[in-house]
Amino acid sequence: MMKEGVKYTGVPSAEELEQIPGIAGEARFEEGPVAVIECVQEIPCNPCEKACPFGAIAVGQPITNLPVLDEAKCTGCGSCLAKCPGLAIFLVHKNYTEATALVEFPFEYLPLPKAGDTVACGGRDGAYVCDGRVVKVNQNKAFDGTTLVSVEVPKKYYMTVRTICRKGRA
């Protein structure tokens, strides 16, 4: 009965994510860390474009265009994550190790986890997906208050884990 899609649930559906130009092809994920821009709606917004030092993100005119990721130019540096006002950009390193992936996401809550912590990791709907190990808690004045958290999770969850579960809500 519940309709799917970001307009009905706030969570982009699998179809919506397949159709957007901000996500690289499967092969690129095998090559190393890459930005994942989960921007699915046309809103006037383009800070991501100027954020990339390698010119890998294009929005152009009108500024409602969905950002296009040039997967060849993207080095996975993560400069774009803290710049997106919608907190919709993630950094995914599918082959962090043989068994695990590394997912980095913007986080603006307290308490902050600490590197080395084991945390409950959640999906786009906040529900529990798996336990993960916090690898890095990245804070930088240039991020203007947004913290970037990296968690190591079982590899199969590289496109599922997008957050740490908020206490008691998962």
Binding site: E108, Y109, L110, L112, G145, T147
Partner: protein, 104 residues
């Protein structure tokens, strides 16, 4: 409840004055809206309506709706959401339209 630690905003200074709400001492910050000090102390009922005595508290927060009015230092109908706290202020739950305090 006061929000001391915040993920984005800088740390806040502690309370520096005392005000009196229905005779009870409440910590507050000089200059903050009276309503903020009350909410921080867990006080949400600011007045009772004239006819049926129903409880009322803050609604709009920008001085437009007048739901938050209380008697302050003897003056009734003071909008607590836009009136700043002063040390020693006397704030009273207002019943109905309130009454001017008797001048000594």
């Amino acid at each position: 409840m006061r929000v001391t630690k915040h993920p984005i905003l800088p740390e806040e200074a502690p309370c520096d004055v005392t005000i009196y709400v229905d005779g009870k001492e409440i910590p507050a910050k000089a200059g903050e809206p009276i309503a903020a000090a009350l909410l921080a102390a867990g006080i949400r009922v600011f007045r009772k309506t004239a006819k049926k005595g129903y409880p009322r508290g803050i609604f709009c927060g920008i001085g437009r709706c007048t739901d938050c009015v209380m008697t302050v230092d003897g003056q009734p109908n003071v909008r607590t959401c836009v009136t700043p706290v002063r040390a020693g202020m006397k704030v009273e739950t207002q019943i109905g339209l309130g009454r001017w305090a008797e001048q000594a």
